[in-house]
């Protein structure tokens, strides 16, 4: 372990800069950008909620915490309780069996709070939307501030979406410059 630690100390980090978000994503986050920065500065605590996804979105959300995407360098971290959270990251077509749990989790999150719906299922256009067992889009159950589509969205898509929300284009570019 010591050898490994030493090697990691003298090797350059593998963390990568984030490319600029698309114009559509910038626009979607524009209204919210100031709000989050004003309330929270540059830290964001996220509680993830799987409201019936296939687990594909969860795999890519997990990847955000790996050394290459390193979401924590932006002040974003995942928390265990909605009571510690600023933002809910919700996946899945909201199954009827998860509806109440999602509503209760939202209610347990103290204000100010935001909700990001993740994936085509969360956006309401996945293939389970019309099932007897599903509500559909997350926005049918709780208010949603941003939608990040994909099946599943890549970690880059997710990171760009979260950054647009958090600190906006200029601040993100400043952080990126330090690491490139």
């Amino acid at each position: 372990m010591r050898r490994r630690l030493f090697k990691n100390l003298v090797t350059a980090p593998c963390t990568e800069p984030v490319s600029k978000p698309t114009a559509a994503l910038e626009a979607a986050g524009a209204q919210l950008r100031g709000a989050i920065a004003r309330s929270l500065g540059r830290s964001l605590a996220i509680r993830e909620v799987d409201a019936g996804s296939c687990n594909g979105c969860e795999l890519e959300i997990h990847a955000l915490s790996n050394a290459l995407y390193d979401v924590e360098r932006f002040g974003i971290r995942f928390v265990a309780s909605p009571r510690h959270a600023d933002l809910l990251l919700v996946t899945g077509p909201v199954t009827l069996n998860m509806r109440e749990a999602l509503e209760r989790t939202y209610a347990a999150t103290p204000a100010p709070k935001w909700v990001v719906a993740v994936g085509d299922c969360g956006a309401g256009c996945g293939m389970f939307t019309d099932s007897y067992a599903c509500v559909g889009a997350v926005s049918k159950v709780i208010p949603v501030d941003l939608v990040i589509r994909g099946c599943p969205p890549t970690p880059t898509d997710l990171l760009q979406g979260l950054l647009v929300l958090l600190s906006g284009g200029a601040a993100a570019a400043g952080v990126n410059a330090k690491h490139s």
């Binding site: 296939c54 594909g56 959300i61 790996n66 077509p93 069996n97 099932s131 099946c151």
Partner: protein, 503 residues
């Protein structure tokens, strides 16, 4: 055993993949007895209109047979009275189809939480839902016991499920799971779909096993239609399946260590997993290779750049993985957490026909690639990895060895990939319904697919059985006697699918 049970019966001609026979109540009873005496393994049990099918495996002969019993008066005999692993499956058939099982030991609903607009959604006549009583968890008696309810929203970034612990101090006296939170009504959605549409749904039953699900669905459809995909596609399917296996095993090993607070392994394995997914993007255009295996073959060809990307990653694994293995086995505090924790006995693993790394880490020598080989594994066998200890550590070691074997298999396969087309159109239009069954070894165990295709090549019935059906119950046994704080470690060492199970 099969000869004794089914010797007089003629298999249904319309069913391909392996034989399917129609049984009566008397034979069903003898199937139950054979299961109780551990002479046969139950690989699946599902409803189909006014019938119930089961899939049975005989380890001594390595044969698989499906048996069907017709519903009479809304009832069929129960296999759960003989064989505990059938219990949740029968409760589910009852929830979805309304078929009653005579003397069903556990009468509680399973996937039905009372939230659907109609009950028995797959029955010919679904009924408006009457309210269900609150779910009654099993009792535990003893001094100073307390209950800890966990979930459905639980832990970190993970699928939803409920875990009701009964604990005495730190020690778990009983764990009872309640699942079904991610039930999306998949079996009903599949009915009436075209083969292509159904394939896209099958790819999203369990995102981490999208390749294996697409693989088994394609094989079942192709069996039903007596179609043979081109050789290059046959090999490419396995290339994708092994990449999926490696990526998941890397993620799991890291996450298991992380649940024992050893985040360094998690960080290092996370980098390797990311390298694999990026190679998959170069080679197949999608990090998880979703929708890349389709009935008829595969959806994209493997170009030299893609082949190079895959080989780069297997070579990187050769260079970098041994050091991580050494880190795992030489960190005493980590070994202290994983060795001897969460033991699944060989007897239980055998009774539940536990597949994948859970079964093989508890002495069960079954791997569908080896025991019921499907192309290309029949031409290029892979070694089976079995360990006797049955603890978290053994489940980690099975994964470590499988990563090494899969990487070697990939290098050999890519060196001799056949040339030619990767897809042929599936145009057979059968006059009468045809059925197909298949079994594929996904990264967490064997996935069973049964499909019946009707006029216009539309799906009449498709059942996809996730390996987790037979692994979830074993988690309850594994955690008993361990401390509550070791639950995340045990749970992650199993890594059962919630979505694959809940359908």
């Amino acid at each position: 055993m099969f000869k004794a049970l089914f010797g007089n019966l003629t298999p249904t001609a319309a069913h391909r993949g392996w034989p399917r026979v129609v049984a009566d109540a008397d034979i069903w009873q003898r199937i139950g007895e054979a299961l109780r005496e551990d002479k046969l393994d139950l690989l699946g049990l599902w409803g189909d209109g006014a019938a119930v099918h089961c899939a049975l495996y005989e380890p001594s002969t390595r044969q698989i047979v499906s048996a069907t019993i017709d519903v009479h008066d809304g009832k069929v005999p129960s296999l759960a009275v003989f064989h505990a692993p059938a219990s949740r499956l029968e409760r589910t058939i009852r929830d979805l189809f309304g078929i009653e099982f005579v003397a069903l030991p556990d009468p509680r609903p399973w996937l039905d939480h009372g939230r659907w607009p109609d009950s028995v959604p797959l029955a010919d006549q679904p009924r408006p839902h009457a309210p269900l009583p609150p779910y009654r968890f099993l009792d535990a008696e003893g001094p100073s016991l307390h209950q800890i309810p966990v979930g459905p929203v639980h832990a970190g970034i993970i699928e939803p499920g409920h875990f009701r612990f009964t604990a005495s101090g730190e020690t778990v006296v009983r764990l009872e799971e309640r699942l079904g939170y991610t039930h999306k009504g998949i079996e009903k959605l599949l009915c009436g779909k075209s083969i292509d549409e159904a394939g896209r749904i099958a790819a999203r039953v369990s995102g981490d096993s999208t390749v294996a699900y697409s693989f088994v669905f394609a094989l079942a459809v192709e069996a039903a239609l007596e179609f043979h995909p081109p050789p290059r596609a046959v090999w490419m399917r396995a290339v994708m399946a092994e990449l999926e296996r490696i990526a998941n095993h890397l993620g799991d090993i890291g996450a298991i260590c992380n649940d024992a607070a050893f985040s360094m392994m998690h960080a290092e394995c996370g980098i390797l997993r990311e390298e694999v997914l990026r190679a998959c993007t170069v080679a197949f255009g999608h990090r998880l290779m979703m929708d890349r295996i389709v009935p008829g073959g595969v959806a994209v060809d493997l170009e030299p750049a893609g082949q190079h990307a895959i080989l780069s990653v297997t070579q990187k694994l050769r260079r970098q993985f041994p050091e991580l293995i050494e880190l795992y086995e030489n960190t005493a505090s980590l070994q202290d957490r994983t060795v001897g924790t969460g033991v699944v006995t060989a007897a239980l693993a055998a009774r539940f026909a536990a597949s994948g790394y859970v079964g093989r880490a508890s002495s069960r020598s079954f791997d569908a690639r080896i025991c019921l080989p499907y192309p290309p594994y029949d031409a290029a066998p892979i070694e089976i990895v079995v360990r006797p200890e049955g603890d978290v550590d053994a489940r980690v070691w099975v994964r470590i060895r499988e990563i090494q074997l899969s990487a070697g298999w990939l290098e050999a396969a890519l060196a001799s990939l056949p040339l030619g087309p990767v897809h042929l159109p599936v145009i057979t239009a059968p006059a009468a319904p045809v059925e197909g069954s298949a079994l594929v070894e996904g990264f967490r165990g064997d996935i069973l697919a049964y499909v019946r295709i009707g006029p216009g090549r539309r799906i009449e019935r498709c059942h996809l059985r996730d390996p987790s059906w037979f692994l979830w119950p074993l988690l309850e046994a594994a955690i008993e006697g361990n401390i509550v704080a070791d639950f995340p470690l045990c749970n992650k060492s199993f890594n059962c699918s919630y979505s694959g199970h809940d359908l």
